[in-house]
Each structure stands twice: as C-alpha cells, then as structure tokens.
C-alpha cells in the first residue's frame, strides 16, 4: 500500500514547482560544480589531444631534439652550437638512430625570383629532415646525400614560399637568388597545417605551423660553405627507432653532447615521448586539483541543500502530520523528501551539463581551444549530482519520516 516511486516523483516535482525560486537557489552550487567539472575535463582532454596532434605533426613521439639550454649562463663562456666535425662524431656514436638531422637557420632575408621577392628563413639541413619531421615533399625531390657531399646549390621551398614566388606555376627547375647565391629549385614541401589553438591569430592565422611553410631548405654543407661561412649548427633532431627507445637514446645523446662540450650544459636534450608523459602527468595533476575543487563545491552545495531541506521539513511539519494522519507510511514520507532532493540535484546536474556545453562552445569558439566533451563525462556528472542528492537528502528525509503525527499537527 505504499505509494510508488512514480508517485513520489510526481509529488516531489509538484513540490519543486510550488517552490521554484527556492529550488533554483538551492541548486546553484550543484549547477556550478557540475559545470566546472565538465569544462575543466573537456579543456584538459582537448589540450592533451592538441599537444599530441602538435607532436604528431612535428615528427611524432620518437623524436629527440637537441637545442640551446636557456637556463645556462653563457657569460661563463661557451656557445651552444656545433661544427660539422662534432656533428659527424655524434652521428657515428648513435648508429641506432633512425634519422639524424642537424640544422642551422639564417635570419630571414629576401629570396628573389625574377622581379619578385619574398622574405623567408633559409635552413641548412640533412636529407633526414623529411624523416625527422615526418614531412614529405609534394613535388620534385628533397635534398639528398649527393647534394650534401657536393655542396650543391639546390633549394627546396616551403609551400608558402613557393606560391609567393611562383603563384600557380611550377618552381621546379627554376633558379632563385638568396643573398647573391643562385639556387636551383628541386622540390616543394607538402604544406603543413595544424589548427591554431588559443586564438594565436598573429602568426599564420588559423595555421599553427604556417611558419614552417614560409621556409626554404638547402644542404647544410652548401649553407655553411657558400652562403654564410660564419654560421654554426645550432640544433639537432633525431628519430629513435620507436617511442619506447627514445628515452634511452635521449640519455645517450645527452651524455655524448655533454662530453663533447667538456661537461658544460650548453644544450638541452628533449624527447617527445617524455615530454608527452610529463604533459600527461601535469594535466592529471591539473585536472585532479580542479575536479577536487569542483567536488568540494558540490559537497558545499550538498550541505546547503541539506540545510534548506531541513528548514523545509520544519516548515512543512504540519503537512507531514496531515499526510501521516491520512495514511502515509514512514517510507512514503521518507521517499517524498529524498526523491525531491534527488530531483533538485539531478535537475541541477542536467542544468550544469547544459551550461557546461554552453561554456565549452564559447571556449571553443572564442578562445579557439580544442575541447572534448565525452558521453562518459555526462554520465559522471549526472551520477555525481544524483549521488549528492542521495547523500544530503537522507537526513532531512529521515527527520520528516520520524515526526510524531500528533506533535506535527499541533505545530503552527
């Protein structure tokens, strides 16, 4: 003879509707808590994915990079560069590296083709650059070992450099001039593209990798011997056989470089795999902290709800007495109040999810951040809000269901 759950639901819903403002106020904590959990997780997910995509575009997880150590005090002497002899020595020490690309970059100067000019960065590289960066040529060919050995005056253009100078015509077989050197165009790179995150409109608009398309590549030997003999090699990239061995190779390279520079930490050696692991750890810490804050706000919201429901039970003492007098059992009264609390928090959860989607839409659109909201998150948010209702609705419901009807009916 107890009333059904459906009945409790409809009674609870009716109660909520007669106390709209109070219900709305009650639930704000839950709405905000659920919303922040959703937004934080979606942003962290998105950032992780963006970083992985970035790493994927920049040569993948097996990549190892040697570059200047920004933390080093260069006033103590030493400079963060290699000469060709050192590069050859390192190469001999790491036969297991799947690819090996030292490079040097000139300050941007004008590249000329006939009447036209385009300011671009010229890089001296090894043939392995296509492997290290996982970046194929679109037309023609890339620099090969013969070009390196013979210091050939050949150039491979980034896609933007190519269109700026040649528009739709093929640059292959044409000569361009760079600081007085005539260079034969032998290839054009595939355009690189990665959706820009965080509204970085100033460089290359939508494309976070546009700067790579604005480059041009010559054999490292040609650059060092003919174009700018003062230039030194200031960075080195390698590919390990796979992401697992990247860590080991990184350590080895670090030791070799340190040894080569007589113990001076002029260089930093990073591996993409480890950076990714570090990033994952960081984002885990980050999301744990934020989810913890959100959970605390949910608990505070739950305590607020509990107090409001306790006040409501007190205020409705007479109503409870009447219900008991006409035949409500303890369980009916208990369910009525518990279901009502759960409905309020559940509704708050739904509103929080909707609001969360709204905020995420705004974040995605205006901040140009990749956000990933998963279905799993929605379930977690719903479960959490219902759980808060169950947790904090129990005491008020218990208090209501244990009222003495005679006392309750006496209440004014």
């Amino acid at each position: 003879m107890a009333i059904s759950l459906a009945e409790s639901l409809s009674v609870g819903l009716a109660d909520i509707l007669t106390r709209k403002v109070r219900s709305a106020v009650t639930v704000i904590g839950i709405i905000l808590g659920v919303m922040s959990i959703m937004v934080v997780l979606a942003i962290v997910n998105g950032m992780n994915k963006s970083t992985l995509e970035w790493m994927g575009e920049r040569g993948g997880l097996s990549k190892i990079e040697v570059h200047q150590n920004w933390a080093y005090d260069f006033s103590k002497g030493g400079d963060a560069s290699f000469d060709l002899r050192e590069i050859n020595y390192i190469r001999q020490q790491v036969p297991e590296a799947a690819a090996f690309n030292p490079q040097t970059q000139l300050n941007p100067r004008e590249m000329q083709y006939g009447e036209l000019g385009y300011t671009c960065s010229l890089l001296g590289v090894f043939p392995d650059m296509v492997k290290v960066e996982d970046w194929p040529v679109k037309t023609g060919r890339f620099i090969n070992q013969l070009d390196i050995d013979n210091h050939n005056n050949v150039v491979v253009l980034g896609s933007t450099t190519a269109t700026e100078l040649f528009s739709s015509r093929s640059p292959l077989g044409q000569y361009v001039t760079y600081t007085g050197n005539r260079l034969l165009v032998v290839g054009v790179m595939e355009p690189k593209f990665l959706q820009n995150q965080g509204g970085g409109e100033s460089f290359g608009g939508e494309n976070a990798l546009e700067y790579m398309n604005q480059r041009a590549f010559v054999p490292l030997s040609t650059l060092l011997s003919k174009i700018d003999p003062n230039q030194r090699i200031n960075s080195l990239s390698l590919q390990a056989a796979d992401p697992e061995s990247a860590k080991q190779l990184r350590r080895k390279v670090e030791d070799i470089v340190l040894d080569l520079k007589r113990g001076k930490r002029l260089f930093m050696v990073d591996s993409a795999q480890e950076q990714m692991e570090q990033m994952k750890r960081n984002s885990q810490i980050f999301s744990t902290i934020f989810v913890l804050i959100a959970v605390i706000s949910l608990l505070v919201g739950g305590i607020v709800i509990m107090n409001i429901m306790l006040a409501s039970v007190k205020e409705r003492t007479r109503e409870i007495g009447v219900r008991i007098a006409v035949g409500a059992r303890r369980r009916d009264v208990f369910l009525q109040f518990l279901v009502q609390t759960v409905l309020i928090t559940g509704l708050g959860g739904v509103l929080g999810i909707i609001l969360g989607y709204g905020v995420l839409g705004g974040v995605g659109k205006y901040l140009k951040l990749q956000v990933i909201a998963s279905a799993q998150m929605i379930w977690v948010a719903l479960l959490v809000s219902v759980g808060v209702g169950l947790l904090f609705g129990t005491l008020p419901a218990l208090r209501a269901s244990t009222l003495d009807p005679v006392e309750a009916l006496r209440e004014e």
């Binding site: 003879m1 107890a2 009333i3 059904s4 009945e7 009716a14 007669t18 007479r318 109503e319 007495g321 009447v322 219900r323 008991i324 007098a325 006409v326 035949g327 409500a328 059992r329 303890r330 369980r331 009916d332 009807p405 005679v406 009916l409």
Partner: protein, 228 residues
C-alpha cells in the same frame, strides 16, 4: 449492535521534563457500529488525547484498544498507517488541508496512500466532493475557500476511503454558527447513511444531535457507558 470500538483501561502519560502528566487515566469505552457519539468535557480533560488514540495517531501508554475487532494498541507504525488510511477518517478543528494542493488533490490524498490509480482517485474524489456540495470548487486552493467550505473539504477527505469510523475533534470550533450548522448537517447525514461518527464538541447543538454523550473529566469518563 456490533461494537466497533472497545477500550480497556486506557492510560496515556506525557512527560514534561521530570513532571509526568496523565492525560488519560483508565478509559473504558465501547462504541457500537453506526453510533453517533459526542464527547464533551472541559478543556484539558483529555478529549483530544483520546481521539488521537482512537484515530491511531497515537498509542496508549497502557491499556487495550480494539478497533473493528482488531487489537490496534499493539500494532507497529506501518500497520497503524494502514489502519489510519483504511479505517479512520479524521476531521480537525483547524481543517489541516495542504495549502498548495487544490480541493481535488487534497481529497485524493488518502486514495493515493491507499495505492489507488489516478483514474479511480479522480472519480471517487469528485463523487465525494460533489456529496459535500463543492463540485464548483475542485480547482480552488484552500486559501480561496471560506472556513465552512474548508471543513467540508476536510470531511470529504476523511470519508473518501470509506472508513469504519469518522472522528472529528471540535470540527465547528473555528466556524460561525451558520457554517457550523452546515457541517453538523453533513455529519448527521453521514450518520443516517450508516456511518459511525464520533465528535468532540463544546457545542450543545452538536451534542443534541448525537445519540449518546460521553463526558470526560481529568482523563476519565464520567458517565461511563450509559446511553444518552
């Protein structure tokens, strides 16, 4: 005459801190099916306490109470809820309607706790509301009704489950004489239709309609079981 209520040596103590108050001091009472009984007595004599026990809203400290042949003084809470729902209709002095429910919903309440379906509830409640003359007020909230109308809604609610006994604790106490007269008419009619009616009252007019008057004093019945 079949007896519907029988109490033996009912005692009810309240403790106010260290002081014990004996509200009922050995009540022996028998009421037959279909009787119309008025309970009278000075304020504080224990009338309401007795009604609450008869209405299964409260349990005696000691003594026995049989309702419709069943010993209810030993029942536990959930069973009492069932008895309240099925066997008892209670009308209070202060109406005790739920303020945010309309007339129809208020009257449906006992049917809901009886587990009746929405259709059956609606049908029965409308019939009963019609019988107390409030068909035009189905969607009104209690605050939109006069005192007499509210008490009629309360009576409709009390009888909608077709209870074995109808209890009323000073039902006309908050009404003017006109409205009180209307309410008394309804109780008389219900009695004439075969219902057992027990009314606590100070009102001579009410008492005069009753088949029997039970006088209560200091938690004891004065005139015993003598028919009035």
């Amino acid at each position: 005459m079949t007896e519907i209520i029988r109490t033996a040596n009912l005692v009810k103590d309240y403790s106010l801190g260290k002081v014990k108050v004996r509200a009922l001091n050995g009540v022996d009472l028998t009421i037959g099916e279909g009787e119309f009984v008025a309970i009278m007595g000075p304020s504080g004599s224990g009338k309401s306490t007795l009604m609450h026990i008869i209405g299964c809203l409260d349990t005696p400290t000691s003594g026995e109470y049989h309702l419709d042949g069943v010993l209810v003084s030993e029942m536990e809470k959930n069973q009492l809820a069932m008895v309240r729902n099925r066997k008892i209709g209670f009308v209070f002095q202060s109406f005790n309607l739920l303020p945010h429910l309309n007339v129809l919903k208020n009257v449906e309440l006992p049917l809901m706790y009886a587990g009746a379906g929405q259709k059956e509830r609606n049908l029965k409640a409308r019939q009963i509301i019609d019988s107390v003359g409030l068909s035009e007020r189905l969607r009104h909230k209690p605050a939109e009704l006069s005192g007499g109308q509210r008490q009629r809604v309360a009576i409709a609610r009390a009888i909608v489950n077709d209870p074995a006994i109808l209890l009323a604790d000073e039902p006309t106490g908050n009404l003017d004489s006109q409205a009180g007269g209307d309410i008394l008419e309804i109780f008389s009619r219900l009695h004439s239709e075969g219902n057992t009616v027990i009314i606590v009252t100070h009102d001579k007019a009410v008492a005069n309609r009753a088949g029997r008057i039970i006088r209560i004093m200091d938690g004891r019945i004065e005139n015993g079981d003598i028919a009035g």
